[in-house]
Symmetry: C2
Amino acid sequence: MSTPRTQAGLASVGSRPLYAQVREQLRQRISTGAWRPGQLIPNEFDLAREMGVSQGTARKALDSLAADGLLVRRQGRGTFVVEHTPSDMLFRFFNLFDTDGKPIGPDSKSAHVVQAKATADERRKLGLGMNENVIRISRVRTREDRPFVVETLILPASRFARLEKLESLPNTLYDHLQKHFGITVARGDERIVPVVAGRRQAKALDVDEGTPLLKLDRLMYDLDGNVIEWRVSYCHLDKAYYGVSLR
Amino acid sequence: MSTPRTQAGLASVGSRPLYAQVREQLRQRISTGAWRPGQLIPNEFDLAREMGVSQGTARKALDSLAADGLLVRRQGRGTFVVEHTPSDMLFRFFNLFDTDGKPIGPDSKSAHVVQAKATADERRKLGLGMNENVIRISRVRTREDRPFVVETLILPASRFARLEKLESLPNTLYDHLQKHFGITVARGDERIVPVVAGRRQAKALDVDEGTPLLKLDRLMYDLDGNVIEWRVSYCHLDKAYYGVSLR
DNA sequence: GAGTGGTCTAGACCACCCT
DNA sequence: GGGTGGTCTAGACCACTCT
């Protein structure tokens, strides 16, 4: 029992540390859906035994996944796969605040969903091949019953079958994707540019043409790094701002 | 040696974990300047002995400080207090990228520095009392020799004596503050809003009035959480964007 | 070769949560 | 009371860096 040296139960590539190998195995169980959102996973001791490592090493892998937000650890209860609730997702990835610094919780006012053949831009952004289809969602989001964001969401149709048949689009799309398609939105990149309202945006947002707007252009990725969504939003920031934490 | 129970050498408040207490002590050594930027600090074993904890506990505190960017650990060499280099600071806290996704490294074109009595706004933002002075810096930043950011920086004069006497303002202010005043800029909050260029901005940036600009309004904090700087920037994003990573 | 941080193990006690 | 994660310790070997 005193000589770790060569570990059992793992490929033992030799190069990467043990805890990183354990971490990767556990990450795959989440991304493949073997472990479902909200599920209680085995405790440290059982996982360590199954992987052929010490409890401390298993703990290091679990802590790392918890730090990245894939797991939630609750003292006295156990370790769970994170489950996105609608209220979580309403504020996560949404960086608009009112002048007092309070996060803005947007409502969906209207939405229009269609499926169509992807354009060249859409194929490039989503990494699709020729003749693949996309689902296009256009909607207006409101704040205190007044329109303040108009946006278009593009998703690969192949991964979200029949999404366009939905009667009413949920206000928070991402937890719906997790619950019904088992796909977790893990991270994204957003590009911010200032623009002035054109005719279309002015009409949708009920502002004058030429009003300064914030254009947000973003790509969202799943746990495996595949592009899930391309979204372009035009935001009318009246007594509001886009907040960024600098570290 | 086998009974940890009550630890020696620490206040032993009892409530907070040992490693957190160690972490706080080490953090203070950095923020007070007892450990200078770039300095090699004692190894894990010596620190552990000095604090009366095990090497593993000292390690946990050190790792935590390294994760927050206050320390840098180099295998085989030792642990160092982070030192901001000009090239580090040119890109950190500066989230503008060109269309290819490459970070933009701005140059300082011109700068104007004065000391004056703080206005009410300045006192509120910087947390100053009546009759306190501020240093105001106005400058234009260039990209490929063309102006693209015009900004004003406000700093509390009391903490940066004689900064306004500088012949030429360094391109990267923050590492200058660390080197000459021992004050490290640790984090900040930025508020982004779209605006259209007024007469002043249009002239400074060589664009038409009404051109959409990004207005960045930010506060920067030192290691102890005190406000160090209030900065307002107007950015002309031609073939460029403000990038945010969503997690 | 000596010294450092990086990894890994084994085992202990504590705080918390459930039933 | 029994199970969980959270903290803490003690000691080992490895990989890297410098001289």
